[in-house]
């Protein structure tokens, strides 16, 4: 479980996050939604310890990462998996080496055991016989799946995803969403997903935080989105004709 309590973050005097509090629950897919520039990515970077909020607390199972020593933060990061928007796979390594990388850096497994784990993770994300291909040789959807395999290879307690299905076709996007939800349940991870994708919201929004202008504007679960009378949320979620039509028939 991750709790954020009254965090503030500003850049050059401009407040980006304003008194934000929320709890990301364990074993659930926690979605963070909001317009571009609303502060989602800044919040994610604060959770990852890449930015330090000026005020407030970020508790990972009770331990505040803002006041944590660098040594402990480094230890904690070994329990964190991250799926970046573009995958952020290492170009100089093939798929197998990319997934193997965290194991080589942090585990004491033998080469055979590491390879077994890599193949297990790749199989888990439905990728087989791609071990020796390079990131430039695979599709966007495959890159995301490799990034997920790399993120889960060390059995993390926390999984962060920054717009995991941006730039993907609807079918692949659904596959990625389902995969993330399955893995979250399977491993009991605390999964945090930044998304703009309304399909994801409906499909896997087990817990949702809607940020508007750096503040928490709404929280709830996917089924409550349609019933909510929060104007900002309604304007954001049902901005397209398609969703307006869906809502009118709901």
């Amino acid at each position: 479980m991750i709790e954020i309590k009254n965090i503030f973050k500003s850049f050059s005097g401009q407040e980006i996050l304003k008194d934000l509090s929320f709890t990301y629950e364990k074993g659930k897919t926690n979605l963070v939604i909001g317009q571009s520039g609303s502060g989602k990515t800044v919040l994610l970077k604060c959770l990852l310890g890449l930015y330090k909020p000026e005020q407030g607390a970020i508790l990972f199972d009770g331990e505040d990462i803002i006041t944590m020593s660098n040594r402990n933060l480094k230890k904690l990061r070994k329990e964190v998996g991250m799926v970046f928007q573009g995958g952020a796979l290492f170009d100089s390594m093939n798929i197998e080496q990319n997934v193997l990388f965290p194991l080589q850096m942090f585990s004491n497994l033998s080469s055979e055991e590491m390879l077994e784990r890599v193949n297990f993770c790749l199989k888990r994300v439905n990728l087989e016989n791609v071990n020796h291909l390079y990131p430039s040789e695979i599709s966007g959807g495959m890159k995301k799946r490799v990034a997920i395999a790399r993120a889960i290879v060390l059995n993390p307690k926390y999984l962060f995803c920054d717009e995991p299905n941006s730039g993907l076709d609807p079918h692949t996007a659904i596959l990625i969403d389902n995969l993330l939800q399955e893995l979250t349940h399977e491993y009991g991870m605390t999964t945090v997903i930044n998304t703009h994708d309304m399909n994801s919201l409906v499909q896997i929004g087990e817990r949702i935080l809607f940020i508007n202008d750096g503040k928490m504007a709404w929280t709830g679960v996917n089924s409550e989105v349609f019933k909510s009378d929060n104007k900002d949320l309604q304007d954001f979620v049902f901005s397209s004709k398609l969703y307006k039509t869906i809502k009118s028939t709901y």
Binding site: L50, Q85, G86, A88, D91, F106
Partner: protein, 247 residues
């Protein structure tokens, strides 16, 4: 003010390079890889340039000696000093600043804009230690070897040009190479190459690592890396020469 801030940032960056690496075995493998990528892949280029420049230096010296009372073995003597003292350590290092410096800056810059560096950081890996340290170690180790090869090939280039142009015989040229040879000058040249290697690797890595933006900024970082590496090499060449050879 901005320059001082950048210099301070550079010093902190260099200090970060010498932190303890995550795994020594991984670091060892990375250094070997960088020796291959940055060093060995430059070998043919360095040999090619050195051969022809050595030949040109010999021909120019011969042209200046023509009709004078000075002995022809001076062709070998002048070529040796020009190659060992200045051409191989400084000019080749400047060329390498272009070739290797732009390679380092653009590869790190691309890693930055595609979030590969962020990925390392999130994994709990110090990206400076992991990415930059092997490049610095590899180049500091391999640049003296490259430059030594350049010296040898440059002197051979002079010999070939001297013989082909009938300006001197092989014996005269070799006598000139041996004439008044001071071993410290070779040591001075190698000390320069170690410093220049450090400058090329660290300055280029600095500009690549702190790339901010997209593809356009990667190009800008690459240009800055080459320009600043070259400027720092030129200035430190003067200072080091004053320090080691100045009266």
């Amino acid at each position: 003010m901005k320059l001082i801030a950048s210099f301070g940032k550079y010093l902190l960056f260099v200090a970060d390079v010498f932190r303890k690496p995550e795994r020594r075995s991984v670091m060892y493998r990375l250094v070997i890889q960088e020796i291959y990528d940055l060093g060995l892949k430059s070998l043919l280029f360095v040999m090619f340039v050195s051969l022809f420049v050595g030949a040109v230096v010999a021909l120019q010296t011969a042209a200046n000696l023509e009709g004078s009372w000075m002995p022809t073995y001076l062709i070998g003597y002048a070529t040796r000093d020009a190659i060992i003292l200045e051409f191989s350590p400084t000019i080749i290092s400047l060329l390498l600043a272009g070739k290797i410096g732009s390679n380092i800056a653009s590869s790190l810059g691309t890693m930055r804009v595609t979030q590969q560096i962020d990925a390392l950081e999130v994994m709990g890996i110090n990206p400076v230690t992991y990415l930059v340290r092997p490049k610095i170690i590899a180049l500091v180790f391999f640049n003296p070897i490259l430059i030594s090869v350049s010296m040898f090939v440059g002197v051979i280039g002079g010999l070939i040009a001297g013989i082909l142009s009938h300006d001197c015989t092989a014996t005269e040229y070799i006598n000139g190479l041996q004439y008044d040879f001071i071993p410290f000058k070779a040591l001075y040249a190698l000390i320069k190459t170690v410093l220049f290697a450090f400058i090329i690797a660290s300055v280029s890595s600095f500009y690549g690592f702190f790339t901010d933006g997209g593809a356009l900024e990667v190009g800008k970082s690459s240009t800055k890396a080459v320009v600043y590496s070259s400027v720092v090499i030129i200035v430190s060449n003067y200072l080091l020469t004053q320090l080691l050879l100045g009266s």
